[in-house]
């Protein structure tokens, strides 16, 4: 569905992408992870045709480059910044963006009603969205991206700044979309979201691919060993082990052991191991 092949992109002296390649399969929910400045936004911009690569190619749905407007019709973008008009209602926003997508008014009206219901905004559809909560705006932001039923969805931080209820509703919707056959590229800083939702994950940094695969495979390959914490009267001992169950059994019977805790490696551990612990601003 989306093929990025050996793409490079520079902004003056700054090399944003250094021969990045990734291949997102049809119907896949693909997580794109990376610290600030890793090249995620540039990758997204290249995917929707906002940028042209210096070298390499981007192909969407096997039809061509997203610089072609006809190819962009296959893409739905929910940008990180809430790309909506505050002075317009949810319905007006959706009608406008739907018409921009080339949809006819009558079927568009029906589609708008259907999507507003799906994201739980139908009761406040005619209100100007400047009075909406962050979660409501995020749901509307996603609904706008779905107007033209695009086969490829690009979701850039779709849960940023929303409450747990709205986040949960968004997760449900994203799962439904994947089950409906949409291909989704999910760009996020929240590791637990990627771990919970994504079929495959790519971790990029400094414009290059560091690792790509299923969450389990990445953990196995890059997560390191599990950590056991043994609590005794004299203090807490930490042991890294490839055989955590056997190790825990051994210490569980010891009379001086007061408690045991097992920390299995997760995606965050993989991420930190691959990208380092230094701060990125």
């Amino acid at each position: 569905m989306l093929k990025i092949d050996q793409v490079t992109k520079s902004f003056g002296e700054v090399q944003a992408l250094r021969g990045l390649s990734m291949h997102v399969q049809k119907g896949e929910l693909y997580g794109l992870l990376g610290p600030n400045g890793a090249g995620k936004s540039t990758t997204m911009a290249l995917t929707v045709g906002l940028l042209e690569p210096d070298s390499g190619t981007v192909t969407v749905n096997g039809t061509g480059s997203p610089e072609d407007p006809a190819v962009r019709a296959h893409i739905g973008l929910a940008p990180q910044s809430l790309s909506l008009y505050d002075e317009m209602s949810a319905t007006e926003n959706m009608m406008f963006f739907g018409q921009i997508q080339g949809l006819e008014r009558r079927p568009l009206k029906a589609r708008v009603g259907e999507l507003l219901e799906r994201v739980g905004l139908e009761s406040r559809a005619s209100e100007r969205i400047q009075g909406y909560s962050g979660g409501m705006k995020r749901r509307l932001n996603l609904a706008v991206a779905l107007l033209h039923s695009p086969p490829l969805l690009l979701l850039d931080e779709p849960t940023a700044g929303v409450d747990p209820q709205s986040r949960n509703a968004l997760f449900e919707l994203i799962r439904e979309l994947r089950e409906g056959g949409h291909t989704i590229v999910y760009c996020t800083h929240y590791m637990e979201e990627a771990q919970r939702l994504c079929d495959r994950v790519a971790i990029i940094d400094e414009g290059a691919m560091l690792a790509e695969g299923t969450v389990d495979a990445l953990i196995e390959e890059h997560g390191g060993h599990s950590m056991i914490q043994i609590e005794r009267a004299s203090g807490v001992e930490k042991i890294e082990t490839a055989e955590p169950m056997a190790e825990m059994a051994k210490h569980a019977l010891a009379p001086e052991t007061l408690g045991l805790r097992l920390d299995r490696p997760d995606l965050e551990a993989v991420f930190l191991r691959l990208t380092g612990r230094s701060l990125r601003d």
């Binding site: 045709g49 910044s81 317009m88």
Partner: protein, 438 residues
């Protein structure tokens, strides 16, 4: 692309209507400006003062007193002329609406009313100044009757007037019946004066005299005969014809900022990437913005012209030239909007930079003080680079200057050229910046 551009234009017009500040500066402020300054230039909106040209051909004490009495009226400002031929020419040029000629024999007629001939005034008038004609007729008649009244109030003067009339009647070549009747009238008037004098001295007596017809013997005493002259369309008929084109220029500036800021906001709020990620071209987005700006600029100018025409006596002699002016001015300001929006990287930056530049251009282009009042040579020269000058000139050309379509080509051509150059530069700047946000 046209459909997309119209969808974007409709959305922007909707947003403009909902943005209270933008709506105020586009629609309300220009209207307030046009009306308020129009009333101020008209004399504070209270009493109307008409400029009347006068030439005293008679040169008598009575004629001089008449002109002086007329000038003393609040509603009339008299400009005395040295040459009677100046009068019609000045009316033709639009320097004044009315020229009054006080002819030879006026003083004699005033001193010997009825028999001395009617009090006839000549002159010229701008035929479009119908309200002014009524005002001048009324005030002139009132002044004349007051002068006559003063003469009748003084018994000696009145008696002298009657005696001069009787003398004139005696030698006049009039039929005997008329002579007899007028003689009887003068005798009665003389008796009336004597009675009034005796009454004033406490003798009592009969002071009532009624004309048998019930009409006044002075009814046909005064005649104002003004010749209509064709006024060249180069002077405004009222202050609103000056202020409404200026209001139009301020409205254009309101539109310009409304849309320039909205284009910058598309980038700062992130809607531009979403638009450009959809299957439309950057050119369509820019065309949509330009269309919205153009439509709102046309609407607000038409609105001002219609209000001016309906309620403020603003003349719109030709729909064609008005359409040319409105369209060209809108096109010119769309071009400026494009450049401003492309240069501004933030709303505050666009507002600050834009207002600084545009206010200078507005002030030097006659949007505040009319160019005809700015008799400073260098300022007149600087004004040629101001789009405000050309938009005001085009609008005035369609109104009181009554330009022909051919004469409209210069201001309209300059504005359209500004529009085209601005659009191209703006579009190139957007392209150079990667559609504004790449």
């Amino acid at each position: 692309m046209i459909r997309t551009a119209l969808v974007i234009a409709a959305k922007d017009l909707r947003l403009l209507m909902r943005d209270k500040a933008a709506f105020f500066f586009t629609f309300v402020f220009p209207m307030v400006y046009g009306i308020m300054f129009g009333f101020m230039f008209s004399g504070g909106g209270g009493s109307v003062s008409v400029n009347v040209l006068a030439f005293d051909e008679d040169g008598t004490e009575a004629s001089a007193a008449f002109i002086e009495a007329l000038d003393a009226r609040e509603q009339i400002r008299i400009t005395r002329l040295e040459d009677p031929l100046q009068g019609p020419e000045m009316v033709r040029r639009g320097d004044a609406s009315v020229f009054l000629l006080v002819p030879e024999g006026f003083g004699e007629a005033l001193d010997a009313p009825i028999i001395g001939g009617s009090l006839r005034l000549g002159g010229s008038i701008d035929p479009t100044a119908s309200m002014t004609l009524g005002l001048v007729q009324g005030l002139t008649a009132q002044t004349l009757f007051e002068l006559l009244g003063e003469r009748f109030a003084e018994p000696e003067l009145a008696r002298g007037m009657v005696q001069r009339s009787q003398e004139t009647l005696a030698t006049a070549d009039t039929d005997p019946a008329t002579k007899f009747l007028l003689g009887a009238v003068f005798s009665n008037i003389e008796q009336l004066i004597n009675n009034a004098e005796a009454d004033a001295q406490g003798d009592g007596g009969d002071t009532t005299t009624e004309d048998e017809d019930g009409g006044s013997p002075l009814a046909n005493l005064f005649e104002l005969d003004l010749q209509e002259v064709t006024v060249h369309g180069d002077r405004p008929a009222n202050a609103f014809e000056i202020t409404m084109p200026q209001a139009g220029a301020w409205a254009l500036m309101g539109c310009l900022f409304g849309f320039a800021t909205s284009l910058v906001q598309e980038r700062s709020k992130g809607t531009m990437p979403r638009l450009l990620a959809s299957p439309i071209t950057p050119k369509a987005v820019l065309t949509g913005k330009a269309t919205g700006c153009f439509v709102s600029a046309v609407l607000v100018q038409v609105f001002l012209l219609v209000v001016g025409w309906l309620f403020l006596d603003v003349r719109v002699p030709s729909i064609l030239t008005a359409a040319m002016a409105v369209s060209a001015a809108a096109a010119g300001f769309v071009g400026i909007m494009m450049v401003l929006a492309a240069l501004g990287r933030s709303e505050a930056g666009t507002e600050g930079m834009g207002r600084a530049v545009m206010l200078i251009l507005a002030l030097s282009g006659g949007a505040a003080v009319p160019m005809d009042f700015l008799n400073i040579e260098w300022l007149q020269k600087v004004s040629y680079i101001s789009p405000f000058r050309w938009s005001i000139l085009a609008t005035e050309g369609a109104l009181w200057r009554a330009y022909s379509p051919a004469e409209m080509l210069l201001p309209c051509g300059v504005l359209i050229a500004i529009g085209i150059v601005g659009f191209v530069i703006g579009a190139k700047l957007f392209e150079f910046q990667g559609a504004g946000d790449r």
